[in-house]
C-alpha cells in the first residue's frame, strides 16, 4: 500500500493575506544586514572574530579557493610512457547515471599485458551531472575530476564534448590554488594574473 498525502493544505485566512510571510522575510533579511554590518565594523576596528562577515568576491577577476575534493572537469591520467592508463573496461560508462560517457575500445596488440585501450573516449559535459561515480568505478585510477576547471561553456552542444586527447592533456590543479580557507580570503593575485596570461 502506498499512502499518498496531500501536501497542499488549504491556507488559512491569515496566511492568505501573505502578511506574516512578508514580515518574516523582512526580519530575516534585516538580521543578515545588521549582523554583517556589525561584523564588518568590528573587523575594521581590528577585532578578530571566529565567524567572518559575508564577502562579495569580484568574480571573474577574483576566485574563491577550491576545496581539494571538489569535483571539477574530468581528465585522463597517463602511464609513464604517455599512453592513457585507461583500459577501456567501460566501468565508468556503465555506472554513469547520465549516460554521458562514450567509449570505443581497441585491442592493444603491441602490449598483450595491457591488452585493451580506448580508441575514443568522449564525455558529454552537457549531460554530465558531476556525480564522480566514474572516478570511483575506475579500477585503474585512469579518470579523475581534479583539473580545477569549473568554467565549462560553449556555443555549441558538440563543443561540450570532451575527447580523449583533450582529457589526456589536462593537468591536476596545482596545490597552490587548493587551500582550505574558512576566512573567505581571496586567492593570491599571481594566480589571477596567470589565468589572464594563459587566456591571452
Amino acid at each position: 500500500m502506498i499512502n499518498v498525502h496531500d501536501k497542499h493544505k488549504p491556507l488559512t485566512f491569515i496566511e492568505k493575506t501573505y502578511l506574516p510571510a512578508i514580515v518574516s522575510g523582512v526580519l530575516l533579511t534585516s538580521r543578515h544586514f545588521f549582523v554583517n554590518l556589525t561584523r564588518h565594523i568590528l573587523r575594521a576596528f581590528g577585532v578578530k572574530l571566529k565567524n567572518m562577515a559575508a564577502v562579495t568576491i569580484q568574480y571573474p577577476e577574483f576566485l574563491r579557493p577550491l576545496f581539494p575534493r571538489l569535483r571539477t572537469m574530468h581528465r585522463l591520467t597517463r602511464r609513464e610512457d604517455g599512453t592513457p592508463r585507461c583500459v577501456a573496461c567501460m566501468m565508468c560508462e556503465t555506472v554513469c547515471p547520465a549516460k554521458c560517457i562514450y567509449i570505443i575500445a581497441d585491442e592493444k596488440l603491441e602490449n598483450p599485458q595491457i591488452e585493451k585501450m580506448p580508441r575514443s573516449f568522449d564525455i558529454d559535459l552537457g549531460l554530465c551531472v558531476f556525480c564522480g561515480y566514474c572516478v570511483e568505478a575506475c579500477p585503474e585510477d585512469a579518470i579523475r575530476m581534479d583539473t580545477g576547471i569549473l568554467e565549462i561553456s560553449n556555443y555549441t552542444r558538440n563543443g561540450m564534448i570532451l575527447d580523449l586527447e583533450t582529457m589526456l592533456s589536462l593537468e591536476p590543479m596545482s596545490s597552490r590554488y587548493v587551500q582550505y580557507d574558512r576566512g573567505g580570503e581571496v586567492v593570491s593575485a599571481d594566480y589571477i594574473d596567470e589565468r589572464h596570461r594563459s587566456d591571452a
Binding site: 583500459v87 577501456a88 567501460m90 566501468m91 562514450y102 585491442e107 598483450p112 595491457i114
Partner: protein, 549 residues
C-alpha cells in the same frame, strides 16, 4: 531405474545417470566447469564435489553414477568449504583484471566466486605468467593465463568437431592450453569453443572488445545460414548504439535444441549476420528509372501496381513472373501466394535458384542448401515444381524473348545461379522489374523499383527446416530505415489491388496458414517458440510438451 535422494528430494532416474544429472532433474544446481552435457566426462575441475552418505570422502558429482538408495547432500558445511577451497585453488594463478577481460559478465569464475567463494586472497607469490592474446585461429583468441584447464575445448575438438587441434601441454602450474605445433584452431565449428569456455581464456576475435556483454539483449531466433535451422540467440545492442561502428547485432549464440543442433552451431552461421547492418542495406523504396529516387511506401505501391496492371491488361497474366525466395518466412510466402497466385491469378511463380557453386556441407550441421526455408516454400506450393508455371531458368529465357514482360524478384541475387549476361539480358528486356530484399545486389541494380525488406532479425515469423521442423524467429531489432517484413510489403501492394489480406500480425498470417495449408494444419502458434514443432511426426505434439522456454 534407480531411486536416489538429493538434498531430501527423492527422484527416480535411469541407471547410469550421474549425480550431477540427477540433481539437475531434481532442480538442484551443482556448480561445474569441466562438465558439459554434450562432451565426455573427465572430472578435472573438482568444483562439483558433493557429500554422499556412506562414502568416506567427497565425490565429484559429474563422474559418480547414481546408484539405488544413494543419499546425496549438496550444501553441507563440508561441501561448501570444499567448493570454496577449489575456487581458491582455481584462482591462484588466474589474473584478477576482470574489467579488461571480455568474458566479464558471463564468466563462471565470477559467478561461482560470488555464489560459493567470497574469500580474500591469501596468496603472496607472483602469479605464473603465460602467453596472452594469442591468435590461435581465425575466430578465436587465447589467453592462457585465464585458462583454468577444464579441457572442455580440447574435448570439443576431439569429440564434436573431430579435428583434434588443441591440447594441454606441460605439468603443474605450467600446464597450458595450446594448439598442437604447426596447427591452428581452424575448423567449421571453432566458435563453439568460445561458448563452452567457462572463463575468458577463449574469446571471440570478432566480438572481442566491441561492446560489453551486459549491454546486450537477447532474442530467440533461428540461424538463416542453411536449411538445418540451428536454434540461436541473437545478442543485440539496443542501449549503446555508438559501439562497434553502430552495428545493432553483436553476435549470434547457439541455443540448445536436442532435436536440431544440440548446443552447437557452425562458424559460417555464427559470423554470417553482417549483412544485417551492412552499408548495402536498402533503406527506402526507390525508383531507379532514369534517376534514382526515394519514394514513400504509398507512392511505391500504387506506382508498381499501376504498372503491373498495365502489363497484365496488355500482355495477359502469363506475362508476369514472380521469383520468391526460400530466405523468406512461411508467413511471407503464404501472403505472397495469396496475393500473386490467388489474388492476381498469376501462374509463373517459383522460388528455387540452384547456385552455380554448390554450398559446402558435412554430416553434422552444415547443409548444402543455404536457405532456411526451402522445405516451407515447397510445402506451401509456391515453386514451379509444385505448380505448373515456369521455373526461374525458364522465366529468364522467356523474359529474354519478351514472352514475359514483368518480373517480381524477392531477395535473390540471380547472378548466383545464372551467368551475369543471361540475367542482364533478361532483366533489361522487361517493362517492369521489381526487386524486394534487405540488401542491394547485382539483381537489384537492374530493377526499376527496389523495395526494402526487413532482415531476419527484424521480423517475426517461422522457418521450416530440412527435416520439416517449423521454428520461430522473433523481432530482435526494429527494421532499418523504411524496411518492412516481406508479407507486409505484399499486404500494401494487395491493398492497392483491392485484394483482401486481412492480417495485422505475423500470428494472424500463421493462423490463416494453418487453416489453409494441409501440411501445416493444426500447428499451435504458441508451441512454435522455443524448440519448434516437427511436421514429420505426422501430427503436432500436444501443446503442453511443445512449450519450452
Amino acid at each position: 531405474m534407480v531411486k536416489v535422494t538429493i538434498d531430501g528430494i527423492e527422484i527416480e532416474i535411469p541407471k547410469g545417470t550421474t549425480v550431477i544429472q540427477a540433481a539437475e532433474q531434481a532442480g538442484i544446481e551443482i556448480p561445474r566447469y569441466c562438465y558439459h552435457p554434450g562432451l565426455s566426462i573427465v572430472g578435472v575441475c573438482r568444483i562439483c564435489l558433493v557429500e554422499i552418505e556412506r562414502m568416506p570422502k567427497l565425490q565429484v558429482a559429474c563422474y559418480t553414477p547414481a546408484t539405488e538408495g544413494m543419499v546425496v547432500h549438496t550444501n553441507t558445511e563440508q561441501v561448501l568449504e570444499a567448493r570454496q577451497a577449489v575456487m581458491e585453488f582455481l584462482l591462484v594463478n588466474h589474473p584478477l583484471d576482470c574489467p579488461v577481460c571480455d568474458q566479464a559478465g558471463e564468466c563462471w569464475l565470477q559467478n561461482f566466486y560470488m555464489q560459493h567463494a567470497l574469500h580474500d586472497s591469501r596468496m603472496f607469490e607472483n602469479k605464473v605468467k603465460k602467453s596472452k592474446a594469442l591468435q590461435i585461429g581465425p575466430n578465436v583468441m587465447l589467453d592462457s593465463e585465464r585458462c583454468i584447464l577444464c579441457s572442455r575445448c580440447v574435448r570439443f575438438c576431439d569429440e564434436i568437431s573431430k579435428s583434434n587441434e588443441l591440447g594441454i601441454f606441460n605439468r603443474g602450474d605450467r600446464a597450458e592450453l595450446q594448439p598442437y605445433p604447426g596447427t591452428e584452431l581452424d575448423n567449421d565449428y571453432s566458435g563453439n569453443t568460445i561458448d563452452i569456455c567457462p572463463v575468458g581464456a577463449l574469446t571471440d576475435r570478432d566480438f572481442r572488445f566491441r561492446t560489453r556483454v551486459w549491454y546486450l539483449s537477447e532474442t530467440e531466433s533461428i540461424c538463416p545460414g542453411c536449411s538445418t535451422g540451428c536454434n540461436i540467440n541473437v545478442h543485440h545492442n539496443d542501449q549503446r548504439t555508438y559501439k562497434a561502428g553502430g552495428s545493432r547485432v553483436s553476435r549470434l549464440k547457439p541455443r540448445y535444441n536436442p532435436d536440431v543442433n544440440e548446443w552447437w552451431m557452425c562458424d559460417a552461421g555464427r559470423y554470417g549476420f553482417t549483412h544485417v547492418d551492412a552499408d548495402s542495406r536498402i533503406l527506402a523504396p526507390t525508383r531507379s528509372i532514369g534517376e534514382e529516387q526515394e519514394m514513400s511506401w504509398g507512392e511505391a505501391a500504387s506506382e508498381i501496381m499501376t504498372k503491373l496492371r498495365e502489363v497484365i491488361s496488355v500482355h495477359g497474366k502469363e506475362s508476369v513472373g514472380v521469383i520468391l525466395s526460400p530466405q523468406m518466412t512461411n508467413e511471407d510466402l503464404f501472403v505472397a501466394r495469396r496475393f500473386f497466385r490467388d489474388g492476381l491469378g498469376l501462374k509463373h511463380i517459383d522460388f528455387e535458384v540452384a547456385p552455380l557453386t554448390t554450398g559446402a556441407k558435412d554430416d553434422f550441421l552444415i547443409k548444402a542448401d543455404k536457405n532456411p526455408n526451402t522445405a516451407g516454400a515447397r510445402l506451401l506450393g509456391v515453386g514451379a515444381r509444385q505448380g505448373s508455371g515456369m521455373t526461374v531458368a525458364e522465366m529468364l529465357e522467356a523474359a529474354r524473348k519478351r514472352k514475359l514482360r514483368a518480373l517480381y524478384i524477392c531477395h535473390h541475387d540471380l547472378a548466383n545461379g545464372f551467368a551475369v549476361d543471361v540475367v542482364e539480358e533478361a532483366l533489361t528486356a522487361q517493362d517492369l522489374v521489381v526487386f524486394q530484399g534487405p540488401n542491394t545486389n547485382s539483381t537489384s541494380a537492374l530493377a526499376h523499383y527496389v523495395l526494402p525488406a526487413a532482415a531476419f532479425v527484424e521480423k517475426t515469423g517461422s522457418f521450416t527446416n530440412y527435416a520439416e521442423r517449423v521454428q520461430m524467429i522473433h523481432t530482435a531489432v526494429t527494421p532499418l530505415g523504411e524496411s518492412k517484413a516481406d508479407w507486409q510489403i505484399f499486404r500494401s501492394l494487395a491493398k492497392e489491388a483491392a485484394i483482401s489480406v486481412p492480417y495485422f500480425e505475423a500470428e494472424d498470417v500463421f493462423q490463416a496458414l494453418t487453416a489453409e495449408v494441409e501440411a501445416f494444419s493444426g500447428l499451435p502458434y504458441a508451441g512454435l517458440a522455443g524448440q519448434g514443432i516437427a511436421l514429420r511426426d505426422g501430427q503436432a505434439l500436444p501443446e503442453s510438451e511443445t512449450v519450452v522456454a
